[in-house]
Amino acid sequence: MPLPGVIGQTRAMTITSAASGARGTSGTTPLAVDLTALHKNFGHVHAVNGVDLQIASGEIVAILGPNGAGKTSTIDIVLGLSQPTSGTVSVYGMHPRHAISRGLVSAVMQTGGLLKDLTVRETVEYTASLFSHSQPVPEVLSSAGITEIADRRVGKCSGGEQQRLRFALALLCDPELLILDEPTSGMDVEGRRTFWSAIRKDAEQGRTVLFATHYLEEADAYADRIVLLRHGLIVADGTAAEIKSMASGRTVRVTLPGASEAMLTGIPGADSVEIRGDTVLVHATDSDAVARYLLTQTIAKDMEITAQGIEEAFLALTGDSAPGTATTGAI
């Protein structure tokens, strides 16, 4: 796959971001997560296709991408749940499994992972007993807000209560790195907000947080840094503002009967072109140039120009019409 300009930019940004994320720690502190040239194949499917990612201690990083982008595969490798096909992974300078044995890393997974026949308290006690050191059980129950339901069977707890329990389990070992895989899927808006404010509060104490999500707003609102994944590759890496500006630009919409792709590919300043019957959508960084061209060189009419939000940025960078794929558009 050719490397379009966006990825070139990405690389540069990764370095900046990792360096600025170090937050004054000495150079000897190992990176929380260090992935190099990571590949993971499932048969002929390339779930992870050459990911390089460095996360410094203290960062809050979102891995954002549509389903099948390789988020979960990447996280599984960081957690030592699966082995990379090639490439290297290290967590605090060690093998993921060793980091887990020392209670350096823990995770809140999407669903499942709980025994229905244990009570909430028993589940916490069981998990606590497996670590060489862990936070006191009553304290963890109370900070996760599950003291009142401590004697309830897990199978009788609501989805939100189970998620709070998973969160409590993840915090038992007081991990340096907390990994969350789509932690709020299936939660209502209120539950989601409560959950994130708990995470945010927790991270203020210096915990490194890495979370996967396909909710843009979550990445935008709660992460210091967003890593955009598409087809197992990092297509963008930076702050929310940087991501937005990367895919910035505007959409020029016109009515242009008889438009053809051949006729429109040469438009100056256009990033991509979409034709829907008589309607033509041109995504452009220099929308003025596009507008000038369309109004002077073609019979285009009914022009509308709109700015892109992060939603469009996300779609532009991760969708199949994004630069870098062979479908439509060119950069």
């Binding site: 300078g93 887990i100 028993e122 007993s129 060489s132």
Partner: protein, 267 residues
């Protein structure tokens, strides 16, 4: 958290790996509590063998007849205790199937618990349940005053049944990693009924037709059943019995280890 003044970077050196791969008594206690919470398990492990003993071990027609150093009632008591212990340990082992289905085994892999320590806890839990089966049958036997054998034989028979049921904890683990959770328990009931029949727990193998006998001697409960009756019968040990037990132990543990290693993907 610690007395060390807060450093800027993460405190990596203060983090230790737990001893024994995370094996501990709190977790073991909770595992046993889970097992006893399952009503079906209790019925199968304790009630069923006791009922079988009352039905077949107390029958006046034949139970007072001598058998080796004791009587038929004692012989039946040992068979029934073995059946109960084998059901218990197989169920105990096969609980991994439910844990895989609920994603618990995956959750445990996010903790320091090592696979070996996990399996050790599963086996010990299964053995506790198996021990309960043996104890229940032997206690009812003692109360009924029908089984007759020396105190030494009571102990030798009970312990050999209990230790022998370890073979089926491995069998349960193997099935637990092999079969989907929905029907593993029902399947185990059927498989064990067939194996118990072929192993001679219900009817002595010597009463089968010759062709069936030849097959029966290769089945996993045959060697164990013969061995646990050896103290009572005092008729010596045929070399094929321990070979049968050891061979099946290798097959079950090997199979379980192989399946477990393959079980590293998402469940």
């Amino acid at each position: 958290m610690s007395t060390v003044p807060s450093t800027i970077g993460p405190n990596l050196s203060g983090r230790r790996v737990p001893p024994l791969g995370g094996f501990n008594l709190t977790a073991l206690k909770l595992e046993i509590r889970r097992l006893t919470r399952n009503r079906r398990t209790i019925i199968i492990a304790i009630v069923l063998p006791v009922v079988l003993f009352v039905a077949f071990g107390l029958n006046k027609k034949y139970t007072a007849e001598p058998a080796g150093h004791g009587n038929i009632s004692a012989f039946v008591m040992i068979s029934v205790a073995l059946y109960g212990a084998v059901l218990s340990t197989t169920f105990g082992g096969a609980m991994v199937s439910l844990e895989r289905a609920q994603g618990w085994s995956r959750q445990l892999r996010l903790t320091p618990l090592s696979p070996v320590a996990y399996i050790a806890m599963k086996i010990l839990t299964a053995l506790v349940l198996g021990g309960c089966s043996v104890a229940a049958v032997f206690i009812v036997g003692d109360i009924s005053h029908k089984p007759s054998m020396s105190v030494g034989l009571w102990i030798a028979s009970g312990v050999s049944v209990w230790i022998g049921s370890l073979l089926f904890a491995a069998f349960g683990l193997f099935l637990g990693y092999l079969l989907p959770a929905e029907n593993v328990m029902q399947l185990i009931g059927l498989i064990l009924a067939a194996l118990s029949f072929m192993g001679g727990l219900f009817i002595p193998v010597s009463q089968f037709a010759q062709g069936v006998q030849d097959v029966a001697k290769w089945t996993p409960l045959y060697g164990l059943n013969e061995l646990v009756h050896t103290p009572l019968l005092g008729n010596g040990v045929d070399w094929t019995w321990p070979v049968n037990v050891i061979a099946w132990l290798i097959i079950f543990t090997g199979g379980a280890a192989l399946r477990m290693r393959r079980d590293t993907g998402r469940v």
